[in-house]
């Protein structure tokens, strides 16, 4: 957030550098069941983001001493390919990806009926192949589809979405330039049916009113993204039925 620059992020017509309105999402494309080996998988293109997610499990937790006798352990691993960003990223987890893996794990766990699978792990692997801001919320959204594809029972499909502030204007779904030169970013994960908040982070500088406006925007967009998730799942189902 907040690198200084002369870049104008909102033009005189109130449009953003990629032509969007303040409350408009970037184009989103989802596909379910893209990998053979994983128990469940999905792929998302969200603006310039390309992210793939796979689910393995529930499978016996190993080593045994980490097993929870009462429930499954949900472990998400957020990882960026070295070539997913402009400057090559050294392979392996850095501090940022460790933190994101933790908050994503917690968010996903909030919708999974973990108590049905004691002593197991449900492993969710999120690989960012091309990054364009908002990877964590896109990652949650696609991970949710992979969980559904793996047949993991959930209260609801969880949805990730971010809002923020650029050039003093509250906007939805920041892209890379907006994230770099903007004033605030608020990534959220929302359970669409109950509108509960499962992930919430924020960084930048916002008044209380601005923050509420931003959260309102994200809450609303979550319903739209949720509809796309349902569509993606239906496409997979239909295909299968057609094949049969």
């Amino acid at each position: 957030m907040g690198m200084k620059s002369d870049i104008k992020l909102i033009d005189d017509n109130g449009l953003r550098i990629d032509g969007r309105l303040p409350n408009q999402l970037r184009p989103i494309k989802m596909e379910v069941g893209v990998l053979k080996r994983a128990d469940g998988s999905a792929y998302i293109e969200w603006g310039g983001n390309k992210i793939i997610a796979a689910v393995y499990g529930p499978r016996e937790a190993y080593p045994k001493h980490i097993q929870d006798p009462n429930k499954a352990i949900v472990r998400a691993r957020y990882n960026m390919a070295s070539f997913s960003v402009d400057e090559r990223k050294k392979p392996g987890p850095d501090r940022r990806s460790v933190e994101l893996s933790k908050v994503i794990s917690e968010a996903l766990e909030s919708v999974i009926f973990t108590e049905r699978f004691p002593r197991t792990t449900i492993d969710v692997f999120i690989e960012v192949l091309q990054a364009d801001a908002g990877t964590r919320v896109a990652g949650i959204t696609v991970a949710s589809l992979a969980l559904a594809d793996a047949g993991i029972p959930m209260k609801d499909l969880i949805v990730g979405c971010a809002a923020g502030k650029i050039d003093g204007v509250v906007v939805l779904d920041l892209n890379k330039e907006e994230d770099n030169y903007g004033e605030a970013d608020v990534p959220m994960a929302i359970i669409p049916r109950t509108k509960e908040i499962a992930l919430l982070q924020m960084d930048g500088d916002m008044s209380y009113e601005e923050l509420i406006t931003a959260m309102d925007m994200a809450m609303e967009a979550a319903q739209e993204i949720h509809r796309m998730q349902i569509e993606a799942l239906k496409r997979k189902y239909t295909e299968i039925e057609e094949v049969e």
Binding site: K102, S105, A198, L200, D203, G204, D205, Y208
Partner: protein, 270 residues
């Protein structure tokens, strides 16, 4: 191993019930109100080899934060800016559940949330820490050393970081760069953490409360009442209303904490 967990296994069912029951009556296990933090004592300058330091006692939680200021090379994309870096060590001295080894996810999250508050709140005027543009700048290291863990490390550490920064002096003379000067502080972002217990939201959870909380929210606000950072944790959820309520409370409580930090008061909330 680094498999350090803040919570320590199973809390006895009875204690869990007891805390919930108290909450339903509007009170807490140590008698506090929902929006009341534990007694806060700040001792600045505790560690004198550091350029700045603060020992924070928040109830029984004790955190020592040291600030070192050294010379280094700026990042290529910010040639006109000093560097801030934050690290947290959950040394096994502080809790039976902390293990030796490189920082685990708990320590990393702690360091990053504290860092986010200081950085996004623009606490330090990093542009004043340039010695030679693109070549030489001051690096500010914030090191969080947890000594006794009785819950809510986020606030104790964030408060300690801000207090240590206000205590810090840039050691220019040691490097023949003129007189030493106070680290340039321009904003005072303070984190306040809430736990969700049943359907209640309590500020500054102690260890017992933290252990049975379903969700956690840290909100960092500055002296203008602006919000600079938030971090939700744990596998439970908040309603939108609960989040709004927590943000509002954080502005009020943050104001009280800020006056203790700046006044170098010896604590006693209220």
């Amino acid at each position: 191993m680094g498999a350090t967990k803040f919570t320590e296994g199973v809390v006895p069912e009875m204690k869990r019930d007891y805390i919930h029951k108290l909450a339903s009556k509007g009170t807490r296990i140590d008698g506090r109100h929902f929006d009341e933090i534990r007694p806060l004592k700040i001792t600045k300058g505790f560690a004198s080899r550091a350029e700045g330091s603060a020992l924070v006692e928040l109830g029984n939680t004790k955190v020592l934060v040291g600030v070192k200021v050294e010379i280094g090379t700026p990042f290529p994309d910010t040639p006109n800016s000093g560097i801030l870096t934050t690290n947290a060590e959950l040394v096994p001295l502080a809790s039976p559940t902390f293990e030796p080894g490189p920082p685990g996810e708990e320590a990393i999250e702690l360091a990053r949330v504290v860092d986010r508050g200081i950085r996004e709140g623009h606490a330090i005027d990093l542009e004043k820490l340039v010695i030679e543009e693109g070549e030489k700048v001051w690096i500010v290291f914030i090191d969080i050393h947890v000594l006794d863990y009785d819950g809510n490390l986020f606030d104790a550490s964030g408060i300690g970081a801000l207090a240590a920064l206000t205590d810090a002096v840039v050691p220019a003379s040691k490097h023949d760069l003129g007189d030493d000067f106070k680290l340039p502080i321009q904003h005072y972002p303070v984190p306040v953490t809430f736990a969700k217990i049943g359907n209640w939201i309590v500020a500054d959870p102690n260890l017992d409360e933290e252990s049975i909380a379903s969700a956690r929210l840290t909100v960092t606000t500055n002296e203008n009442g602006y919000i600079n950072a938030m971090q939700k944790g744990l596998n439970g959820t908040f309603t939108y209303d609960e989040v709004k309520k927590a943000i509002n409370m954080s502005i009020d409580i943050g104001r009280k904490i800020r006056s203790i930090i700046m006044g170098d008061s010896d604590g006693k909330e209220n």
